[in-house]
């Protein structure tokens, strides 16, 4: 399936800015198309509900929907996890009722900490919120076609 130019641009920018894994996911998901669940029928089973057995097929994503689908993947991979983690840290602080608690991930044997999920203060999701707002605006920030279609 052909990927439209705007999505190619987003993938290129992601890769250049160090988000290679997400760039790869975008390329794969948009290329493969949208998942659609289809029922498997036989002579005795006339409805999907009866059949119970389904397969997941992929159908092309319309060119007009590709950018929005790509931005939804970015939102799910970046914005939502940050907000969830922030809520987890807030709950940790509420459980103790005594100051703010950070949550870290450490190697259980070596005791070496992984990169922090957040370097901001507990409750500060400003950057993720701003990214979310930009992802909402991006579909309206494309260069319109010229009259001759160039």
């Amino acid at each position: 399936m052909a990927i439209i130019e705007e999505v190619r641009q987003v993938i290129f920018i992601l890769e250049e800015e160090g988000f290679g894994a997400l760039a790869g996911e975008l390329l794969t998901e948009i290329s493969l198309g949208r998942e659609v669940e289809k029922g498997i029928f036989n002579d005795e089973q006339k409805t999907t509900a009866d059949a119970g057995e389904t397969v997941i097929a992929r159908v092309p994503i319309d060119a007009t929907d590709q950018l929005r689908a790509a931005l939804d993947i970015l939102r799910a991979g970046l914005v939502l996890p940050v907000r969830a983690f922030d809520e987890a840290e807030k709950i940790a602080s509420e459980l103790s009722g005594d100051g703010q608690f950070r949550i870290a991930f450490i190697d259980p044997e070596e005791r070496i900490a992984s990169l922090p999920i957040s370097t901001r203060a507990v409750g500060d999701t400003t950057v993720a919120d701003e990214l979310d707002a930009l992802l909402t605006r991006l579909p309206n920030m494309i260069i319109p076609p010229t009259v001759d279609g160039a």
């Binding site: 705007e6 641009q9 987003v10 920018i13 992601l14 250049e16 800015e17 160090g18 988000f19 894994a21 997400l22 998901e29 669940e37 999907t48 057995e53 389904t54 997941i56 993947i73 799910a76 970046l78 939502l80 996890p81 940050v82 907000r83 969830a84 983690f85 809520e87 987890a88 709950i91 940790a92 509420e94 459980l95 103790s96 100051g99 703010q100 950070r102 949550i103 870290a104 991930f105 450490i106 259980p108 005791r111 900490a113 992984s114 990169l115 922090p116 999920i117 957040s118 370097t119 901001r120 950057v127 993720a128 990214l131 930009l134 991006l138 920030m141 494309i142 260069i143 319109p144 076609p145």
Partner: protein, 265 residues
Amino acid sequence: MPLSSTAESELRDMLRAFRAAHPGIIVPTGAGKALEAWVLMKLANTVRIQMGRFWRVSLRQGDGAILRPSTTFNLSSRPSRIQPRSSTAPGYVLIEHRTDTARRFELRGGLQWKGRSDAKHEIDVSLLPSVIGEAIRNSGGGHPHGLPIVAVECKDKGGSGPLDETRQTLARMYDLALVTQSVPGWSCRIYETNTLAQWGRKSTRYLTFFQKGTFGIVRTGHFQSGATTLARHYSIGHYPDIYNGGAIGFLQERFRETLLRVSNF
């Protein structure tokens, strides 16, 4: 139609700011770890908010001590056993009944349990009795054996969770359920091998085991309908679209019911 140069430069600036603010999200396992931490804390919060009259919740260090103010709550970055008692080992959430001291439990992330085959199974969020956790911690570390009281798999994946994903969860549960006991004459649900501490009662049927507890798969995406048919039969909850829908509330409710009935396990 390309993105405008303004759009491109805004996106680049935003991504750079994001990488500085949230470096751990960008690595391949980052978003999954965030999901695990969130599910673990949401379950702990269920007890604090809805059951606080009878139950107490606290964050604990790896040596069992209460976490000191303004310190870091460490979770395991990869699947592991319960570590020997140490303040620097991964911590856990202690959930204890206010009057019945027998009802004390540890909610843990990324813990490996051992099944009847002796294979290890990582459970993203699991609940075990403190009597087992303490025995392991105080005797050099190790793995709990048996079927957890709570076992939640966290899948940071879009799309439709396939049937095989639920089959894998079910296969783990079959190996963990002690329908046959490792020592003749025992009748327990969970045990550990360092001091032979035991907890709970044996069930003779798999389904009976699976009906006692909270078992589920949490997903950022959805599930294939056939997978849900299989899961429902074995009392494995499917919790789709976990960040956006009401599924987390259903998981919390099931966890609450489990704690209310845990004396009968």
